[in-house]
Symmetry: C2
Subunit: 533 residues, 2 copies
């Protein structure tokens, strides 16, 4: 429906030779952050709005400067926001046009995104092919979908709506839509956890250990989406994590590892957009989780991956059959992608380590690396076992030797040296694990009865740390003084909450009043999990 | 999490007695029409935004004047839209607060809507109960859901995700969320069509016929959602259709019938909100369609309903098994609601009548009422049969006599008199069916080969009429000169398109170039449907 522009004019018109000219408007940057949805603003009295029969929430196509965006239309009645003859674009949409304020653009009713037919087939319960997923993911990455269409796609692919072949297609499509790093080595190792366990900062230990062993481990991590800290948030306490792709490559070439934020590398642009609807719905279906994780790893250039699936009553995966089903799905897709995958099912009954929140977790990590007696042993043990699995990918290492090699590297201080090299290379920040900069406001939660700690709710502790301000406020969070199996008396200190703002502290306090997240009972009531380590 | 306000203050604080005070901001009406989604605008540098840890697209709760709304947060960087210390609300959200610009309100992180747990259970594939649907529909009607949550609900209830008991629950919940009219009579009749057939304006004939027979038929209709005209759009050519509930009741008491727009009566507020996501996705699942139709009829006070399900290759329902399945679902839910239902499956192979678009359809209707020889016979016959079915609900009428009673009422001019009474009562407009005010711009589509018209695509003809400007431009649309079975030669005029704006005419012309919507072939290729009449 879109013809070449033959002449500038205010409204759509038909020129002498019968060519159709779409309407032109002056672009205006409207300083509203609509997140990952492009929004266009048009005045209700604008001649174009009337004449073109646009409708509120319909999609318009805006073209100028050789570029085009699709945007959802909001109708405006205030000329100081957008006047007649102007077309407003939200911050991100305007940036995509690459022009100055006032530049003219054509605007027309948008043809639906190319993949809408495929989306409708999925909504009708049909199975999609690789090309369908490619066009859908391409449209999503290019911001052609509205929030409504994004949500429809996510919900239509929820639960078991995708078979394993479709999960592979979706993964391939997500890889194709982004950049891909090439390290020019045969073995590039990585580890990943499906998430959901607060304090689980093993990456910051595994990377220096395996890099010290000589393996290439260019770790890119996300920031927290719903959790109180992602690896990138915690690493940011120690070092700069926002690195250009060139800088990242330099560091990895020199030190064999890095701990950077993955956002700058544009490895999976569709994933970032999908998260904008998955997060508010708390949706995390197996198919989309596997596609998201494996596509990012392949795009980051990994050849070998250890994937950690924690299992427990308040973990993402709550039963062994579910964990095994997820493992098989991961293994199937990884094989199709020629990615060597080692899935480990771990104990996810409680947070790992003591601290929850960036500064508290950085403290735990540094104590493990320093072999400090206050270091949390569960974090140390888990990191050593995961590092050991990765080290056994080395053809020169005998099966079963990985753990002790990893332990030697940690105990000898070589892991600490490697970590300090990486921190220096990325740009170090002031941090002393003996004097961590914690939030100035604090309160404590004590046991009200005697017994054994039989449950620590991952979700509630994450919620409390989040309300206290983590990860935005680096020093905010929760410091656990008792873990599963501890004997407590009335008054025993269970955990301490840190915050920087009064409101945050109060939100956290009220959440603790609703539920402390701790269950005290008898030792026999403690849930058992049978995990690989 | 929300406490009573103890004292005004800029940011959240804890007072001496430990009571928690949420942040206060000055409300500002932001003249942006975000349709059925409440949007709040806050400046990025606002102290509250920082301190409360709000996130883009998170939900905030705004309270003042004894009212509260939940709104999706957009972050703004332009103080002329919303300054620090202010909270902007989109037009509809602001109206819900019932205060002046500048009035202070408290703002806090919103607790999720009460029904989010039920929504998550539906997303997980569980079956919901009546109370679940009640809280969900209540939240939807009160604008507590974001577009993302609305879409998730609609998609999770798509296809066969609702069993028939759940469809009944959803219907009951939609009735409970709106107003309900009580006509204080034992028999209140209505007719409804599931839609999808252009030109199908039988209501404007059935209402005057059955009202002339003495039955109470208070017809409220919708405006077009995706179609080129709804009954309300077409009736509006002849009379005012936006009537207060009191006025509507006066007219019905006096004339036994009306043809009004249903929007003013607030009969199914949740439905209006759901449409805002169903429309852009073209979703129309059986369960939601049945709940939407039957809830509105019960809310409008109907006791007897004739429901028209057209069937054809380009109708909403395309096979007899699908039509029968839909019929059984309607009958099941109607029985639970104690609504007497008569489902008729009709011929939906092509548009009904000749005109598509408000003025053209009003012309056809008036010609049938005037017994004008140019009146389209298919429209007349279908209206008589539907009216006959309703008339047979009258216990004094013998089964099989309805059609001839309806025909007598029409042929005698009593239906025309009744229609004129209704038009006068609602407030008549200038209209002469011999000189309809059609669009000034026009083009014609001719047959390019000889043969028989074997197909007329309802969807394509509706699309062409819509692009030409219908229903916004009352005189725009398509006038059919040939119907199914007509013999044509190269050059025979198939239809004429009317528009008022050049751009509209061009959009319609380009759509006709892609496909005229007509298939010319041999008589034997014409699709057969075996319908009740």
């Amino acid at each position: 429906m879109h013809k070449e522009i033959s002449e500038p004019s205010a409204a759509s018109s038909v020129s002498g030779n019968g060519a159709f000219t779409p309407a032109r408007l002056a672009l205006r940057r409207v300083l509203i952050d609509t997140y990952h949805e492009n929004v266009a603003y048009m005045h209700r009295d604008c001649e174009i709005y009337r004449a073109e029969g646009f409708k509120a929430l319909s999609k318009v196509e805006v073209r100028t400067n050789g570029r085009h965006v699709l945007a959802t239309l909001n109708v405006v009645e205030d000329p100081s926001i957008v006047a007649c003859g102007e077309l407003g674009l939200s911050i991100a949409a305007f940036a995509q046009m690459g022009v100055e304020d006032g530049h003219t653009a054509t605007v027309s009713q948008a043809e639906p995104p190319a993949s809408i037919g495929a989306l409708h087939r999925k909504l009708n319960g049909e199975r999609l092919g690789l090309d369908d997923f490619r066009t859908i993911v391409q449209d999503i990455a290019q911001h052609h979908y509205s929030k409504i269409e994004l949500t429809a796609f996510v919900v239509a692919c929820n639960r078991d709506e995708l078979d394993r072949e479709e999960v592979y297609y979706l993964t391939e499509a997500m890889i194709a839509a982004g950049k891909r790093l090439d390290w020019r080595e045969n073995m590039v190792v990585d580890k990943h956890c499906i998430g959901g366990i607060p304090g689980n900062r093993t990456s910051m230990l595994v990377v220096p250990i395996v890099a010290a062993h000589g393996m290439l481990c260019p770790k890119t991590s996300s920031r927290a989406i719903t959790s109180p800290a992602g690896t990138a948030d915690t690493m940011e306490v120690l070092a700069n994590v926002e690195l250009s792709v060139e800088k990242l490559q330099d560091i990895v070439r020199k030190h064999r590892g890095c701990l950077a934020w993955g956002g700058t590398a544009n490895l999976s642009p569709a994933d970032d957009v999908l998260i904008s609807v998955e997060r508010p719905l708390s949706l995390d279906s197996p198919g989309q989780m596997v596609a998201s994780i494996l596509s990012k790893k392949v795009s980051a250039g990994s050849s070998h991956l250890v994937l950690d699936i924690p299992i427990g009553p308040t973990a993402k995966v709550r039963s062994m059959p579910d964990a095994q089903r997820l493992r098989r799905l991961c293994e199937y897709v990884a094989r199709r992608l020629k990615l060597t995958l080692d899935v480990v099912i771990t104990d996810g009954r409680q947070p790992i380590g003591l601290g929850i929140g960036p500064v508290l977790e950085a403290r735990d990590v540094m104590r493990v690396l320093e072999n400090d007696p206050r270091a949390p042993n569960d974090l140390r043990q888990k990191a050593l076992r995961l590092a050991g699995r990765l080290i056994e990918c080395d053809p020169d290492v005998r099966g079963g030797d990985g753990f002790s090699i990893a332990r030697d590297i940690l105990d000898s201080g070589r892991a600490l040296t490697k970590m300090n090299d990486i921190i220096q290379a990325q740009g170090s920040k002031q941090f002393d694990h003996n004097q961590p900069q914690l939030g100035a406001l604090t309160f404590e939660i004590h046991a009200t009865e005697a017994g054994v700690v039989t449950g620590i709710d991952n979700l509630q502790l994450a919620r409390i740390a989040g309300l206290a301000g983590a990860p935005k406020v680096k020093g905010a969070g929760v410091d656990l003084l008792c873990k599963l199996g501890a004997n407590v008396q009335p008054g025993t200190l269970l955990y301490r909450v840190y915050a920087d703002f009064t409101a945050d502290l109060e939100f956290a306090r009220q959440a603790c009043k609703k539920s402390s997240g701790y269950t005290i009972g008898e030792a026999s009531e403690m849930p058992h999990v049978f995990v690989e380590f």
